[in-house]
Symmetry: C2
Subunit: 351 residues, 2 copies
């Protein structure tokens, strides 16, 4: 498989975004975060997204003008951002920068962000903060989409609602990025497009049966994605999904009650500085202790030792930075489409 | 089943705690939170716990002297509490009060609490804050206990690590209290004592098989509790468990690396004021909107409509306040034992 250089990918995306009206800082941040997604191996949430972002920029459904961001500082540690559908990676990065400043002075900073455009791969934002021994948290929901049913119900009400958190550690930082549902909307669509079955039954059909067939999601009556915990413990995934829903949309003041349309996100961003609680050194000591205990556990399958959240991604990232990123065919195709329409046409690895 | 009056239970516990050296405020808060657990229907985490708390007070493993609490205010919104094993309900309530003051001024307040004694039922703390339109969060782990194995592993490393959050709503507030594992240590012990099978297979045997027999947890080689998500999606429950571990023990500076013994807890408490983000009214509107959408979903089983987190508990609470609390036999027996050893012996419903 052809490998693609991360710097070149960033430069290509930067040009594409600026040609479509994005300010330099918006283009740079969005390009960096998308490539970071692929570096961590999350190819559904990496540069593949650029094509859709560019279409939304062209159609006026996404905004590239950094000056549109409205920041309402309600206290030194609490702010509300109105993103006016600026590209999400720019908004989330600005929110993290804002929280980081607050956290290093006060121990915590928190931003509630409404009307963001799509925010890409949550794990992609964590590493710089974790390396500064800070704890970043990002929660998000998309109030324009419903794919998960409440536990015990059949009707789609909310989204997978992921939560990401970075845990600093000397030996092995933890990059956590998990949804509160069994699988994501992306997995359902991708598996269906490939004509495959899901790895595990994660769909509840419109008749209330559990299924591993993504077609059941799109059938009539329509199916839904099961919450984390499935039929046995799904009340927990449902509760956690509602928590993310409340801390994102409800807290921002803009959510499902406002019937938004199009690609968007409500986001909560927080940064915590352990130095203002029990201290950075003992935080790192404890992370290292737990990481060693987990990695030292006898594996259930001797072929598959315990892995920590983010461990595979960070190992891939080191490889991909040195040797290039092996983009899957669907990603290459999306990049081809994005480039074809630009001044770069004929001058990149994508044509 | 005999029903017990909530006020009388509180008064009984208050006397028992003060007779064993607890300051009046420690005794009052602990009594109130324990009874609150039973009012919400969580009888394993209600007044049943008093007997164990009293034993630890007598043995010097728990502290009842409120003056031992050390508060280190590291910023107006960030504090570290060293609980010196004061009764947990008192410490958590103090932490919530501290966070509430910070949140109403700054939008957020956060306390990291180390060396707490056991903190009882997390849901029991939420209602007063939720009724004031604030969002309380409580996360906890017990660094002296290991019962859950890392995903893919067989060795017990950490605890169920629950997370509680209260979501204000005009029609139906949400009281969320869920662990990041399939079941709790308490459920394993209680089911074993009754000679029953678990409701769902939630144990991983020491040989790596999934089981619904609680005996497999205690067998040799010993079993463990499966993370939320079980074998299919347990990497998510594992990641969430590590998040709670980090935000409690690591953040407090005191955890598993310090090899603590006895009943204890590391706790993170946070309060968020929606008024300092998108506004209280729109928060309540959004909660009401989501609650209606969930409750309006067609149920999977027509006999069992969708219920929101906390809905059953709050409905029980109204009944129990009016008509008394139907304490199960094991709780009555624990109360009998606690009373027998006190000045109240012969003067209560428990003998």
């Amino acid at each position: 498989m052809t490998r693609y250089d991360a710097d070149t990918l960033r430069a290509t995306l930067f040009t594409l975004f600026t040609e479509n009206g994005a300010s330099a800082d918006v283009a740079e941040t969005t390009a960096r975060i998308l490539v970071e997604g692929d570096l961590l191996g999350h190819h559904t949430h990496g540069v593949k997204l650029a094509n859709g972002y560019l279409k939304d920029l062209k159609a006026g459904h996404a905004c590239g003008d950094h000056s549109r961001l409205e920041i309402q500082e309600n206290s030194p540690v609490a702010a509300l951002f109105d993103g006016h559908y600026l590209l999400g990676p720019y908004l989330v990065q600005r929110a993290l920068d804002h929280c980081r400043d607050a956290a290093t002075t006060f121990g915590i900073g928190m931003v509630s962000l409404k009307r963001s455009h799509h925010i890409a791969c949550l794990a992609a934002y964590l590493q710089p903060l974790v390396e500064a021994n800070l704890v970043p948290l990002i929660l998000t929901s998309d109030p324009a989409v419903a794919s998960v049913a409440p536990f015990g119900g059949l009707d789609r009400v909310y989204t997978p609602n992921p939560l990401a958190v970075g845990i600093p550690g000397r030996e092995q930082p933890l990059l956590i990025d998990v949804s509160m549902s069994t699988i994501t909307n992306g997995t359902v669509g991708k598996t269906r497009a490939a004509g495959d079955r899901l790895g595990h039954p994660a769909i509840l059909t419109g008749h209330g049966e559990v299924s591993d067939d993504p077609e059941d999601y799109f059938a009539s009556p329509e199916g839904s994605i099961l919450p984390l915990g499935e039929l046995a413990f799904g009340h927990k995934g449902f509760a956690l999904g509602l928590m993310v829903e409340a801390l994102t949309s409800a807290l921002s003041g803009y959510g499902r009650k406002d019937s938004p349309e199009g690609w968007g996100a409500s986001v909560m961003v927080m940064v915590i500085d352990p130095a203002r609680f029990g201290g950075t050194d003992s935080f790192l000591d404890e992370t290292d202790h737990i990481a060693r205990r987990c990695l030292g556990s006898r594996p259930r399958d001797p072929e598959r030792p315990v892995r920590l959240p983010g461990q595979s991604g960070l190992s891939r990232r080191r490889d991909y930075l040195d040797n290039g990123i092996p983009l899957p065919p669907d990603v290459v195709e999306a990049m081809r489409e994005a480039v074809a329409d630009s001044s770069l046409s004929g001058n990149t690895a994508f044509g």
